[in-house]
């Protein structure tokens, strides 16, 4: 046995140097992956190896229940998502969503101090959207014969709205099913290249989407630049046909049955690991939409210039071109046991809408397997330049008009929280609840006559509850 210490030789010095280099370099790369685990909620202890370079599958199944206040729309939405990760960075994602929506929606007309009557085409018996007088509060009426109309349309549906209440169509019921699929993988010097497609079908609407994406990591994977190109082709085939914009609401079947909309856009993204505890993302997106963007069921009241009483009801009409831009800035901050997310979005379009969204959430680990994530979101938007709460009968008709509150100036706040329970290192059960309220100007300065006494803002309040289960396996 001997204990020796002398000046290091060539090999000893070299090993000393390369060992130090190895530990410094791997410390940096391990810290980055630790950051990723912090941010993406992976098992921090790393008990299960689900990181890059490991083949695994992730399943997320959830049920969402959406309920608007005042007996308006309610929806039940089961979703299922599957992500299959290959060991070489390949990823296959598959998603399925189903929706059942029913309830009453504001039809767009203003309230009045008198009873109002609305007529719309009658859905044929056997259709799942059939309404009866019992459930929908509607009655079937015989239409007077009108020259040039489709012969079968001799019956219509009529519903009334009591004085001083917001006119709503209670016959709203729809089902939707959507499927998405995507693939991505590294290819040569490109860190990620991929594409996807989606198909969504409702009883009166169909949407086909496609996208391609490329991303490149730089700077030891601390910087990612990405470009997404997306396209969408939508078909609207409303029940009763496509009404002519700003024509009088009626019960006739319209001769045009289908209209289309195309959309092309891109998203340019930058993600940067700023420090060990701070991840930042900046996205710019641009979309150009052409085609039918009007809500075929939505109407707008024309009122008397002095009394404010509705004199007629017209179908709304929106421009066929829309160009939107948005900038999204997202920050994830991991300090101690909490992860904070702060984001801001600015949105603007050529319809005159601009909006600001600020959102904050904080993930707090409670016990070993529990966490809670409260969140709050503030939203403000300016009105579209063709938004009108109503039209006035002695003024010339504008080219475009809509009374949709989503196109008006309004504020919205969402409060919510998610509670997660880690069942094991690989599965998690979560419940998420949100409450959303819109507030806008119900008494605009231009209100006339009886309208001054009415609340002209038809905004919604809604509760959203989601229960989900995530499961990762090899």
């Amino acid at each position: 046995m001997q204990l020796k210490r002398r000046k290091a030789g060539r090999v000893g010095r070299a090993i000393s140097a390369i060992s130090a280099t190895l530990l410094i370099a791997t410390a940096a790369s391990c810290e980055n992956s630790a950051v990723a685990q912090d941010f993406y909620g992976l098992d921090k202890a790393g008990r299960d190896n689900f990181g890059p370079g490991i083949a695994y599958t992730e399943f997320d199944g959830a049920l969402l229940i959406y309920q608007e206040a005042g007996g308006r729309v309610q929806a039940i939405e089961p979703t299922a998502n599957l992500a299959i990760h290959g060991a070489r960075g390949q990823q296959l994602t598959l998603g399925a969503v189903a929706d059942a929506v029913s309830g009453a929606t504001p039809n767009g007309a203003v309230p009045s101090d008198r009873t109002q009557t609305f007529v719309t085409p009658l859905k044929p018996q056997g259709s799942s959207t059939t309404v009866t007088s019992a459930s929908g509060g509607s009655t079937v009426i015989q239409l007077p014969p009108t020259p040039g109309q489709v012969a079968s349309a001799s019956l219509g549906r009529q519903y009334t709205t009591a004085p001083n209440t917001l006119p709503m169509d209670k016959g709203f019921r729809d089902h939707r099913a959507a499927l998405t699929a995507g693939w991505s993988q590294p290819l040569g010097w490109i860190s990620e290249i991929g594409g996807g497609a989606g198909f969504s079908r409702e009883e009166d609407y169909q949407s086909i989407t496609a996208n391609v994406r490329a991303a490149k990591n730089f700077n030891s994977d601390n910087t990612t630049i990405s470009l997404d190109l997306n396209g969408e082709f939508d078909s609207s085939f409303p029940f009763g046909g496509v009404p002519t914009g700003l024509s009088a609401m009626n019960a006739q079947f319209k001769p045009i049955t289908t209209r289309h909309k195309t959309q092309l856009g891109f998203v340019l993204g930058l993600t940067e690991v700023m420090t060990r505890n701070w991840l930042m993302a900046l996205n710019y997106s641009y979309d150009s939409q052409k085609g039918y963007q009007t809500d075929p069921y939505r109407v707008i009241s024309v009122v008397d210039p002095t009394s404010g009483e509705p004199t007629s009801t017209l179908y709304e009409n929106r421009p066929e071109q829309r160009k939107t831009q948005s900038l999204f800035w997202d920050n994830k901050l991991a300090f101690g046991p909490t992860v904070t997310e702060l984001s801001y979005r600015y949105f603007t379009d050529n319809w005159g809408i601009s909006s600001h969204t600020v959102e904050a959430s904080e993930r707090i680990n409670l016990a070993k397997s529990w966490y809670i994530e409260p969140n709050v979101r503030f939203y403000h938007q300016n009105a579209a330049n063709f938004y009108r709460a109503f039209l006035v009968s002695n003024a010339a008709l504008p080219a475009y008009a809509s009374s949709d509150t989503r196109l008006s100036r309004f504020d919205a706040i969402t409060y919510g929280a998610k509670i997660g329970f880690r069942v094991s290192g690989r599965s998690e059960l979560y419940v998420r609840a949100d409450y959303y309220t819109q507030s806008g100007d119900g008494h605009p300065a231009n209100a006339i006559g009886q309208l001054r006494g009415q609340d002209l803002f038809a905004g919604t309040k809604a509760a959203i509850v989601q229960v989900g289960y995530q499961w990762k396996f090899h």
Binding site: V11, L23, S29, A45, D48, N49, H474
Partner: protein, 298 residues
Amino acid sequence: MEIPLTATLARAGRDYLGAFKAMATPCEVRVETDDAELGRRVTDAVEAEARRIEAKFSRYRDDSIIGRINAAGGRKTAVDAETAHLLDFASQCFDLSGGMFDITSGVLRRAWRFDGSDRVPGASDIKPLHKLVGWNMVSWRNSCLTLPAGMEIDLGGLAKEYAVDRALAVARAITAAPVLVNFGGDLAVSGPRTGETRWHVAIASVEKDDAMAGMLELVSGALATSGDARRFLLKDGVRYSHILNPRTGWPVKDAPRSVTVAAPSCVEAGMVATLAMLQGKRAEQFLKREGARAWCIR
């Protein structure tokens, strides 16, 4: 496959002592603290890091990076940054040792089974395997490794020491309290104990399981041991050490029974100890020339 954390935690003198088994060896972590919760957090983090490295670099797992590289069948495998740094290190050690340290030499173990028996393989068993050894035959550039078909790599000669250094770094990120990480005799400390006192480390005897061959005092840095304490073949009075010479395919002759090296990091200590073993009877001379702080047992 889920790998749960299994470490036990117990009070041991001034320390909390966490113990678990990983990388086929007993592992322990000592935290000098009165805070049991801190002891548990450090132990869990150390175990998690050990298991992460074990799973990631295991050659027995098809889904590990090593499993994928070895199964690539002559095709190129892109590796992540951490693996790339380890391969760079291994490649530099190959050059520094003149080919004596070679992570492709693991295939020789198909012929050599160091179980204390007298089953020494014949030259005809070794020759075909020896053709599959040689880091100079692989292509390693731009974070992509290509092995000629049939060749394999094994980071086993490196991973345990690396795990010790990484685990200590993880522990240091949690606490400033004095910590000792010991994975099967390869160990590192975060610094002196409270009051500038030293850590006492026993060197295990190569003869008897529980006996002690000596006691080292350690203030900082790491210790690693390379040895054939229980892994050897004995035939006709010749003891075949488990240290194989990649250049011949045969065990190194006249290697010390064990070499323990002290160095700032466990990776460095382990590499110096391994290279010393590969020198055979010139091990002491090598250690002296390189100025290593080392114990040799013959």
